[in-house]
């Protein structure tokens, strides 16, 4: 573990995650699929249990103590998310189901109401389907809104010249790009992307599903108009995601879905909308999940995002060096600024076969196109890749175990 900075005591951290000490078919679990979904620390599990055992009731609705406590806890999660992202007020934090819903919400509500006929949405070639398909659906809704794509360089970085060319056309209403690719690991220059967008009169949304897990994010420093992340990748529960939106934008947006708790008054004929964030949170929200998300944010805050980032940088360096030694292995992407996600091909084995092989040694990696088919097409890898992705509990030894297993797989399949 020499490559890791002393201040992150990974061995101790691993003890916080019950699943990491389980075995897979008699093998030690080596979980290298945190980019798809991270494991949960005891603090998160216990917070959800505590919510259900001691402080559960529907929120925003009851005048009794238990409901008041539940509501206060729920809103505390919103404030934690606000501080985590550096947002100005808790009203700028909308709870969604996951990142995917955040994009759909913005596409429906901002896209249909505030983009104008003839304007286009600009995404990149390296987007996750969550930040692509909702815009395709918006384009196809017959509102005259277009969709264009920023090129990705061979190194797997956003082509900023191409980006500038698109903006220069003067028709871009919204730029929506990833803050960190879930395939290439590329971290994009968010502040610069936002500045360029704003100079061209466009709004900008970031997909922070990966970035928010690996780096400290400050939406005001970036000057993001919208920013999304998803709880389950941040060591929190499924069923909850976060959409940050600037207050004046959320205020101007109509609701996405209708129902209880998002209205001010309702008659049979008409309803008026509540102020954000309630306007965007119809029905019973993710009460138990909010308790889990709050605990997850507190958990990473206690460890410290800087320490997490430093640990990850060390892992990235170690993995780059170690995987480079595996014969027949090709890494996808070589961005300057990258996080702990490595997609690769092995010459003699299909990613799916490789997954099965590795799984027998307890090593979990993903195989496929990682919800980024266009990016795989861009690199001529329609058949997919294997992907190893790290969490704050990942060790250099686990990367070594992967590298060794890859060498063995080569013998097996060759």
């Amino acid at each position: 573990m020499d490559a890791l900075p002393a201040r992150l005591d990974v061995a101790r951290i691993r003890e916080d995650f019950p699943i990491l000490s389980t075995q897979v078919r008699g093998k030690k679990l080596v979980f290298l699929d945190s980019g798809a979904s991270a494991q949960k620390p005891r603090a998160v599990i216990e917070a959800m249990t505590r919510c259900m055992e001691t402080a559960y009731a529907n929120v925003h609705r009851g005048a009794y103590h238990l409901s008041e406590v539940a509501t206060a806890n729920f809103e505390a999660a919103r404030e934690a998310a606000q501080r985590f992202l550096g947002a100005a007020t808790p009203e700028e934090i909308v709870f969604t189901r996951n990142s995917t819903e955040a994009f759909n919400l913005v596409a429906h509500s901002f896209g249909r109401a505030l983009l104008k006929r003839g304007q286009v949405v600009l995404v990149s070639e390296m987007e996750h389907h969550a930040n692509l398909v909702p815009w395709q659906m918006l384009r196809d809704a017959g509102l005259g809104i277009g969709l264009r794509f920023i090129r990705v360089t061979d190194a797997g970085e956003l082509d900023l010249d191409d980006y500038a060319r698109h903006l220069a056309q003067g028709d871009v209403g919204l730029v929506s790009v990833t803050h960190m690719s879930n395939v290439l690991g590329t971290v994009t220059p968010a502040a610069r992307i936002a500045r360029m967008a704003h100079e061209a009169g466009a709004r900008v949304m970031f997909d922070g599903s990966q970035a928010a897990v690996h780096r400290a994010v400050d939406v005001r420093a970036i000057d993001a108009d919208f920013y999304a992340f998803t709880g389950h990748k941040l060591y929190g529960p499924t069923g909850i995601g976060v959409l940050y939106g600037k207050r004046e934008l959320l205020d101007a947006m109509p609701p996405f879905q209708g129902g209880g708790d998002m209205i001010e008054t309702v008659t049979l004929e008409h309803s008026t909308w509540a102020a954000p964030p309630a306007r965007f949170e119809p029905g019973t929200p993710a009460i138990i999940e909010a308790a889990g998300l709050l605990a997850a944010i507190e958990y990473v805050n206690t460890i410290g995002m800087e320490a997490i980032e430093a640990h990850e940088r060390a892992l990235v360096e170690h993995a780059s060096a170690t995987l480079a030694q595996v014969p027949g292995l090709t890494l996808l992407g070589s961005a300057q600024d990258r996080g702990g996600v490595f997609a690769f091909s092995l010459d003699v084995a299909h990613p799916h076969d490789l997954s099965t092989f590795l799984d027998r040694r307890g090593i979990c990696v993903r195989a496929g196109r990682h919800c980024a088919e266009p990016l795989h097409a861009r690199f001529g890898l329609e058949g997919g890749t294997s992907r190893a992705s790290f969490g704050l509990y990942t060790t250099a030894e686990e990367i070594d175990a992967l590298a060794e297993a890859l060498v063995a797989a080569r013998k097996f399949f060759a």
Binding site: H350, H352, D353, T356, R360, E382, G383, F412
Partner: protein, 155 residues
């Protein structure tokens, strides 16, 4: 290296030599110029794809070929298919596909005929739920081709 050896042994149930061999050197791997039936099978989850071509004569399948991409299992299964179905009636070919799907689900080999014995090499997938679709993809395409539809999905 006992751990590794053990891993290898277990995996040999799935990756039997015949599978690895057909996976590496698929037979009848070409796009047929003239054919009587054809269909494509896609597994959207992993990107596996098999495009199957059949020539028919006198109510029997006379020739089969495929192109595609994917894991060793899916390609080996398609390759075996192209060797095993020529000479069969469409119904018999379908029945063979049904047998394969059952083996893939239960893991039970069927050595009652030489053809099924060869196919039984694929029964090892039953231990790997996410791989069952790889083994059956080509056979779904076979059904689709014989039904006259153009696409099959293993989902």
């Amino acid at each position: 290296m006992t751990g590794q050896a053990a891993g290898f042994e277990e995996l040999r149930d799935l990756y039997q030599e015949v599978i690895l061999d057909h996976g590496r050197k698929p037979r009848n791997h070409f796009r047929m110029e003239v054919f009587d039936a054809s269909a494509r099978g896609d597994n959207p989850m992993c990107g596996d794809r098999v495009e199957l071509f059949l020539a028919l004569a006198d109510g029997h399948i006379s020739k089969a070929s495929f192109i595609g991409r994917g894991c060793a299992i899916s390609q080996a299964s398609a390759s075996l298919l192209t060797e095993l179905v020529p000479g069969l009636t469409p119904d018999a070919a379908r029945a063979m596909g049904a047998r394969l799907r059952e083996m893939a689900k239960t893991g039970a080999r069927d050595d009652s005929t030489p053809a099924l014995e060869r196919l039984s090499a694929l029964s090892g997938v039953h231990e790997f739920p996410s791989r069952v679709k790889c083994a059956t993809l080509a056979w779904h395409a076979l059904d689709a081709a014989l039904d006259g539809s153009k696409e099959a999905s293993s989902e």
